[in-house]
């Protein structure tokens, strides 16, 4: 399967990450060489100042892949739903 045929990633942002990124949701093609949550986060940071303000390495960012919490080493594949958000504060 070539990159052109691969299904896109569905990206979701919540709370202050959503506000800084400026969108709640988008679809992107998984870039070559990006295969983990950590690599995806680093690549997203390079997309502009809003992304950097939301996802810079020193920020407390959590991630879920396909609606399960996922650490930086978790794999990311085409078609996945990947969400970035702050530490949760419900209850």
């Amino acid at each position: 399967m070539t990159a052109a045929e691969a299904p896109p990633l569905r990206l979701l942002y919540f709370a202050w990450l959503r506000e800084r990124v400026g969108r709640a949701e988008e679809q992107v093609a998984l870039p070559d060489g990006v295969a983990t949550v950590g690599a995806l986060r680093a690549w997203l940071c390079s997309r502009g100042p809003g992304f950097a303000a939301a996802l810079a390495p020193d920020l407390p960012v959590r991630c879920a892949v396909n609606q399960d919490f996922a650490g930086p080493d978790a794999p990311v594949a085409p078609g996945d739903e990947v969400a970035f958000f702050p530490p949760v504060t419900g209850g």
């Binding site: 407390p60 958000f85 504060t89 209850g91």
Partner: protein, 159 residues
């Protein structure tokens, strides 16, 4: 099987408890917790609290938390309801019910459920202050510590 819900409307403690207990005579104790919106944060008056969540994942996470409690304490009933949207001071945010044959299990499970809801379900709170300011609530180390109390020998709450 637990009842899990995410809703904007207020819940009714009395009818939720009655539904859980209805027709049951094996239950000896029902533990409950209701979380409500306080009128100030660190002394700064609050006009409203807005709760955002991750639809889909929220329900999955709440069901997983309830299943963990049901397994650990052999619960005879479990209800988790969390509100989202804009809430005013005094309004209820979250309801936890846990029923068991004996009180210790019911009350321990109630504490576990609210501690894990606070740290392992994807909800975020934004405070709107009376002075017009707004701020996302920061996660608290004390909440992580409360959740960690339950971790020994068990599934770690995912972060």
């Amino acid at each position: 099987m637990a009842r899990v819900g995410v809703q904007t409307a207020a819940f009714d403690l009395g009818s939720e408890a009655a539904a859980l207990l209805a027709g049951r005579s094996d239950i000896g104790g029902l533990g409950c917790f209701v979380g409500t919106v306080r009128d100030s944060a660190a002394g700064r008056p609050i006009a409203a609290m807005t709760l955002e969540h991750y639809p889909g994942m929220t329900e999955r996470a709440m069901a997983a938390i309830a299943a963990e409690a049901e397994a650990r304490w052999a619960l005879l009933g479990c209800t988790l309801i969390h509100r989202v949207g804009r809430l005013r001071p005094g309004e209820p945010i979250v309801l936890v019910l846990a029923a068991a044959a004996h009180r210790a299990a019911a009350l321990e499970a109630t504490g576990f459920l609210i501690d894990w809801l606070k740290t392992a379900a994807p909800f975020w709170k934004k405070e709107s202050f009376a002075d017009g300011g707004e701020a996302w609530v920061a996660a608290r180390a004390t909440d992580d510590e409360a959740a960690a109390r339950w971790r020994a020998g068990a599934v770690t709450p995912a972060r």
